[in-house]
């Protein structure tokens, strides 16, 4: 990436025309190395391992696409997630295989030079570049809550989307709004998809890679897919790549057997917790969270939250900040049960009193107004 940062715009062109394979070979990577790389890539992309040769073939001829990364209302956690992944890794090789033309945290250039680099890349590769977005976009009050170089996030995104071949929303904020959108959402934050839906920006093929942060291998995996096949991967209704978000954490969790057996940890320090039983009761969001943490894991495949004894908090799901406590079981109502029950009883007492008053009026009226039934009264007149 250092080379990307320091390169002149002329160098971009010559390097872009190199295929990924050529570039890797130039770095002294052998055929076995390349095969290993493709195998790892397939594994990461959740493709059948037999696809490795296809990846090899595709990467052998793919050229490096230009990538522009825009950051809005975000915490840089997504970038951290990516750069803290173990360098040099297979993921970093993928990153090497793209031309990252603008990323205001990573690039060396700053100020107007940086903005110029972005504008140049947008102009040169109009209709071809990949647009990566992290952070949500403030939409309230015409987007004045966040600006870069005097340009509002909304406007910068609008310009960026226009010439993009596809948009990848990195992280929960850009995918679903995330923390900035949590109630009461003072900036009127929105996700990229929200803005496309309401026509505030143009529609482009959109891939959401939610997660707070997303798994680095998923980011690179999606890019690898784009490089390999030149298309965006198969998505679900929330624009998430099915290969990474097709199953819930719960489905793929190694503790699932305990759930089925009814063995649960009741507190974080009880016997069940020590024995590694299911964390459902402690608020685990595994059952409603679609992500690959349980299989790809974190920190270079070391572990993931559940493995370290904490339930999933569902960070890659829409609205997760506003979905109630992370420490109450998923089935537990978030409702104010006592208040509602009391209110119900109150309403019931009032309605019951009214109805009962009428009932007694009718019944007792009939009893006091009773006219003795005599023999002659048994025949109809």
């Amino acid at each position: 990436m250092k080379s990307d940062r320091e390169k002149e715009s002329g160098a971009i062109v010559s390097q872009r025309e190199e295929t990924v394979l050529q570039r890797l070979r130039r770095q002294g990577i052998s055929r076995r190395g390349f095969l290993k790389f493709c195998t790892a890539t397939a594994s990461m992309m959740a493709l059948p391992p037999t696809m490795a040769p296809a990846i090899a073939a595709a990467l052998g001829s793919a050229t490096r696409p230009s990538v522009i990364w825009l950051s809005f209302q975000e915490c840089t956690g997504c970038t951290e997630s990516l750069t803290r992944s173990h360098l040099p890794t297979v993921e970093s090789l993928i990153f090497d295989a793209i031309s990252l033309d603008y990323h205001h945290t990573l690039q060396a250039a700053s100020g107007e030079a940086a903005e110029r680099a972005r504008e140049e890349a947008m102009a040169r590769y109009a209709g071809e570049y990949l647009l990566l977005v992290d952070g949500s976009i403030p939409y309230g009050d015409e987007g004045i809550y966040s600006t870069i170089a005097g340009v509002s996030n909304l406007e910068m995104l609008r310009q960026g989307v226009e010439g993009a071949a596809a948009v990848i929303a990195i992280g929960t904020c850009s995918s679903f709004g995330g923390l900035p959108m949590a109630s009461p959402n003072p900036t009127g934050a929105m996700s990229v998809n929200d803005l496309m839906q309401r026509g505030a920006i143009q529609r482009r093929p959109l891939i959401n890679i939610p997660g707070c942060p997303p798994i680095p291998a998923v980011i690179t995996g999606v890019i690898a897919h784009y490089l390999t096949f030149g298309t965006i991967p198969q998505l679900d209704a929330l624009h998430r790549p099915l290969s990474f978000y097709g199953d819930t954490i719960h489905d793929r969790c190694y503790r699932r057997t305990y759930y089925d057996q009814g063995k649960f940890a009741d507190t974080f320090d009880d016997e069940g917790a020590r024995l590694g039983w299911c964390l459902y009761k402690l608020g685990c969001r595994g059952p409603t969270t679609y992500n690959s943490c349980a299989t790809l894991k974190w920190n270079g495949g070391t572990s993931f939250p559940i493995q370290s004894g904490h339930g999933c908090i569902g960070c890659s799901e829409p609205g997760f900040w506003d979905a109630g406590s992370f420490y109450e079981a998923l089935s537990m109502p978030t409702a104010a049960a006592t208040t509602a029950t009391r209110a119900g009883v109150g309403v019931g007492v009032a309605a019951g009193a009214l109805s009962a008053w009428q009932n007694l009026h009718q019944r007792n009226g009939a009893r006091t107004g009773h006219q003795e039934v005599k023999l002659d009264d048994l025949e109809r007149g």
């Binding site: 076995r32 290993k36 195998t39 594994s43 793929r252 190694y254 299989t295």
Partner: protein, 143 residues
């Protein structure tokens, strides 16, 4: 305070329990072996996509056993290829340069792909060897 004083331990699962979880995997291996015998088609199982608990992984290793061949590659980090006690079933682990596992596979093949030398390379080897020979004949030593 050392790590060992923290009262955390993994539950030792009874063998039947942990083995239940890997029956499906064993059946897949069996199926791929049959396919290899019938059609010479290699099969691969990506172990990282199977949600195995550490205990289940141990059980799988123990069940498959240790075969006669093992190979170590040094290519973009280490890679280990080990034959299991079942001929034709190979346990392949790729590490990156930092020693982190980047892929773990069960390969069902006469010999794993990564060990094979292919035609391109054979030609290349031949060329390089010819260069060596030419160098010696044309005088001087070869570096």
């Amino acid at each position: 305070m050392g790590l060992d004083t923290i009262p955390i331990r993994s539950e030792v699962m009874s063998p039947p329990f942990e083995q239940q979880g890997i029956v499906a995997l064993l059946q897949e291996i069996s199926q791929l072996l049959r396919q290899l015998a019938l059609s010479d088609e290699n099969g691969v199982i990506d172990l990282r996509r199977s949600p195995l608990s550490p205990a289940q992984r141990e059980a799988l290793l123990t069940l498959l056993g240790q075969g006669e061949v093992s190979a170590e590659l040094t290519v973009m980090g280490r890679s280990r290829v080990e034959e299991t006690a079942l001929a034709g079933v190979w346990w392949v682990t790729h590490y990156n340069e930092e020693g982190v596992v980047v892929a773990e596979l069960l390969e069902i093949a006469p010999i794993p792909q990564i060990l094979l030398s292919v035609e391109d390379e054979l030609g290349e080897s031949q060329d390089r060897l010819q260069q060596m020979i030419d160098g010696i004949i044309n005088g001087g030593s070869v570096k």
